[in-house]
């Protein structure tokens, strides 16, 4: 009867599960207090102390057991599997799987795409989140705007992917486009409006990015030379890295601004957006950015609220304009939170699987490591290379995870 009614089955499972948990805690404590270390007899005092030393472990045991079985054991098993070969009956093959993986172009493509995701998604999500948090802070309808921006957090990655697949959808040119992006694209006809929106505006945007990079780089250079004293080597190297990144950004945006005038734009033809190599990665990233911006906004909005109002007023009296207040007073005070948000999104990005799986399944050069692992493990039935790629993902995640936990702890203090 139970198996015919899923709702009842679920209810029974819940009751059974919760009951078992309560039963475990109650009975194990009972056994500890009445049988193992009874609070009677001439050792009553000593027994109570011993029982209290054992008790925390009774409560920790289920969690430790589950974590060990489902987290710690798989790590070591995966490591072992990555050194064996299924087709040879599980024989030890050393680093052969890793060598084979390194020789696959698809692996390098996945690694490159992952790096791209790693740079673009946390950066854009965090900055959009910060922007949304700051802009909605003082508005009467700010809370409504925040709810709307936060809402995608409630949608699963696969659900969001389906939504965006519809946005990117393509129909033949003579039919109505159901994809929003193509519907907009077909409105451009190569006239003055198209040139303005698709060439002049992007040029202005790229030049603005280049200008901003030069400006902030110059500001950092001036600050850096103004107070060289007390700067550690670490900070100096960080500045050098930022400078290199800035120069690259200037070069990239200027070349993009120039390049946009030499591209032949295919007006009037519906585009299959997800098959355009390289750029399709960004169409996939849009899904995750759409979801994670809400997360970043909520956390950063709380952090912005925590800034003492008087420091902002002191800055106003000191003559700071709204931009200087934001960048020199507010942002530095919530830098710790920004780093935590950034690294948390980075962790999500490194594990990204569902979006790529649901939208392109790694075709057209959109492969990422997690999907590559799934491909190897469950489609090619090659546990060796699959496990090897899993280990690579773990190695990439671990340092960021450690740093994230470290920062989060620092924030809590």
């Amino acid at each position: 009867m139970l198996s015919e009614n899923p709702a009842l089955l679920g209810l029974a499972t819940i009751i059974l599960g919760v009951g078992a948990c309560l039963g475990y805690f109650f009975l194990s404590n009972l056994v500890l207090d009445k049988v193992v270390f009874p609070a009677r007899g001439k050792h009553a005092g000593r027994n109570i102390n011993r029982a209290n030393m054992v008790r925390p472990w009774l409560f920790l045991f289920p969690a430790l057991f589950a974590l060990g079985l489902y987290l710690a054991y798989p790590v070591f098993e995966t490591l072992r599997l990555s050194l064996t070969d299924r087709s040879l009956g599980g024989a030890f093959v050393g680093f052969d799987n890793y060598r084979q993986m390194m020789n696959e172009a698809k692996f390098w493509e996945a690694l490159r795409n992952n790096m791209l995701w790693l740079i673009v998604v946390p950066a854009i999500s965090t900055s959009f989140g910060l922007l949304a948090a700051q802009l909605t802070d003082r508005l009467r309808w700010g809370n409504l705007a925040k709810s709307l921006i936060f809402m995608p957090m409630a949608i699963s990655f696969v659900g969001a992917s389906v939504i965006f697949k519809l946005i990117y959808d393509t129909r033949p040119a003579d039919q109505n486009q159901i994809g929003v992006l193509n519907a907009i694209w077909l409105k451009f006809d190569g006239g003055a409006g198209s040139i303005f929106v698709l060439q002049i505006l992007p040029t202005v945007f790229f030049l603005a990015v280049a200008g901003l990079a030069v400006f902030s780089g110059w500001g950092m250079f001036r600050d850096g030379s103004a107070s060289l004293r007390g700067r550690s080597l670490w900070q100096m190297s960080l500045r050098v890295c930022a400078a290199v990144l800035g120069l690259w950004l200037v070069w990239a945006s200027i070349s993009a601004a120039v390049g946009i005038w030499f591209v032949e734009l295919p007006y009037g033809e519906p585009q299959t957006w997800l098959t355009i190599p390289f750029w399709n990665n960004f169409f996939l990233m849009a899904v995750l950015i759409w979801i994670q911006t809400g997360f970043a906004m909520v956390i950063l909005s709380a952090a912005l609220r925590g800034i003492p109002e008087e420091t902002v007023e002191a800055a106003i009296v000191d003559g700071a304009n709204p931009f200087q207040i934001f960048f020199k007073i507010k942002v530095p005070q919530i830098m710790g939170t920004i780093v935590v948000v950034w690294t948390t999104i980075t962790l999500t990005v490194l594990k990204v699987f569902d979006i790529v799986f649901a939208m392109t399944n790694g075709q057209w050069e959109t492969q990422v490591l997690a999907n590559y692992m799934y491909d190897k493990l469950f489609r090619s039935n090659d546990w060796g290379v699959g496990s090897a790629s899993a280990i690579v993902i773990m190695l990439l995640v671990t340092p960021i995870l450690v740093w994230n936990v470290h920062n989060a702890r620092k924030e809590m203090r």
Partner: protein
């Protein structure tokens, strides 16, 4: 020379008026203290001068320039906040240099200004520290230093000592007094609810109450010649006693009698039409002394005795619904609870207010 002047300044949030028609001229080099109970609008007035609150009526001049619509940084003011408001991510040096950097001053100029301010405030060895590594008093000094480096026309202090503990408050109060001595030309406006700070620091005190100015004057002027019962009771601790009385004789000297048979003749002029009117006689607890015989001001039963050694404070049982009478006698007195005592005060120490609470000294 007038440094700052308020003409009919008012502030309203929507239809709720919190300050109305404030007229005040502040001379260069003055230290003016705004004092009043909480909610009287003294901090709002200071923030309006700073430019952090919009002025909804009247004009504010600083150095004869109307600054109503100028942003804070261009008004020539600097402000010290109650909670220090130091930038937590900047060193002491950068905290003090921030405004100069924003103003685009050269590095040498900034360095000279910051170091001389730090010397003045004994902060030189802390310049590389972050605010969280400083004590409360040091933080307050950094906040003051941040104001000094800007070389403002007017310094604004918003209850700067209320976050410090009692001992540090006294020390910092004296430091601020010394700072004022060392900068005799700078104008300062200081907001506090603590009348000791007001009395010790001010060249002039502005008593605010219910969104308006009650009286402006030198500290001892407010103590000796309060304009109304509010100022009379706000300045001085314990507060001035107010006793219901009736005028029996008018002229250059006025005689009054109290319900319990006490009487007094004061050197305060009244007019013939005041004859028989109900008035309030004010006498400070420290001006009262014990007396025998029929020639007394007030008489009452002692209810509580606080012997502090240097003074003895007597609280008398109130008659009907009148407020309790308080007397502060110098030295130690052996007095039993419940004793019926008669008290007197020197005629020139007495104050006389009409039934609206306005002093006869200031009656137009």
């Amino acid at each position: 020379m007038t440094s700052l002047s308020l003409k009919g300044v008012s502030k309203a949030y929507g239809s709720m008026e919190v300050l109305r028609d404030i007229d005040l001229d502040i001379e260069q080099g003055e230290l003016v203290v705004f004092v009043g109970p909480s909610g009287c609008g003294k901090s709002t007035l200071l923030r309006m001068i700073a430019g952090l609150e919009k002025i909804t009526g009247g004009t504010l001049d600083i150095d004869n320039v109307v600054v109503n619509d100028l942003p804070p940084a261009q008004r020539g003011i600097a402000m010290v906040f109650q909670s220090y408001a130091l930038y937590p991510h900047m060193t002491v040096y950068d905290n003090m240099a921030f405004s100069l950097k924003l103003a685009g001053k050269s590095r040498q100029e900034i360095d000279t200004a910051v170091r001389s301010a730090a010397d003045m405030l004994q902060l030189s060895q802390y310049l590389d520290r972050l605010p969280k590594a400083l004590s409360g008093g040091q933080r307050q000094r950094v906040a003051i230093g941040r104001a000094i480096v800007r070389d403002p026309k007017v310094f604004l202090f918003d209850e700067p000592l209320s976050n410090l503990d009692a001992a540090l408050r006294v020390a910092t109060r004296i430091e601020i007094a010394q700072l004022k001595e060392s900068m005799p030309d700078s104008t300062m406006i200081y907001v506090t609810h603590d009348q000791v700070e007001a009395m010790t620091l001010a060249t002039r005190i502005v008593v605010l109450h219910g969104g308006g100015i009650e009286q402006v004057g030198a500290p001892l002027e407010l103590y000796e010649r309060p304009a109304n019962t509010f100022v009379a009771q706000f300045i001085g601790s314990p507060a001035m006693n107010l006793i219901e009385a009736k005028v029996t004789e008018t002229g250059p000297r006025t005689s009054v009698i109290m319900a319990d048979g006490g009487h007094a003749t004061l050197p305060i002029p009244t007019r013939a039409e005041d004859q028989g009117n109900a008035v309030k006689l004010g006498v400070r607890p420290e001006d009262l002394s014990l007396v025998e015989g029929d020639d007394f001001l007030v008489s009452a039963d002692v209810e509580i005795i606080e012997a502090l050694g240097e003074t003895t404070v007597l609280y008398f049982k109130p008659k009907s619904d009148a407020p309790a009478l308080i007397a502060k006698l110098p030295g130690i007195h052996q007095i039993q609870r419940g004793t019926h005592l008669k008290l007197i005060a020197a005629p020139e120490k007495l104050h006389l207010f009409d039934e609206n609470g306005v002093s006869f000294l200031y009656r137009s």
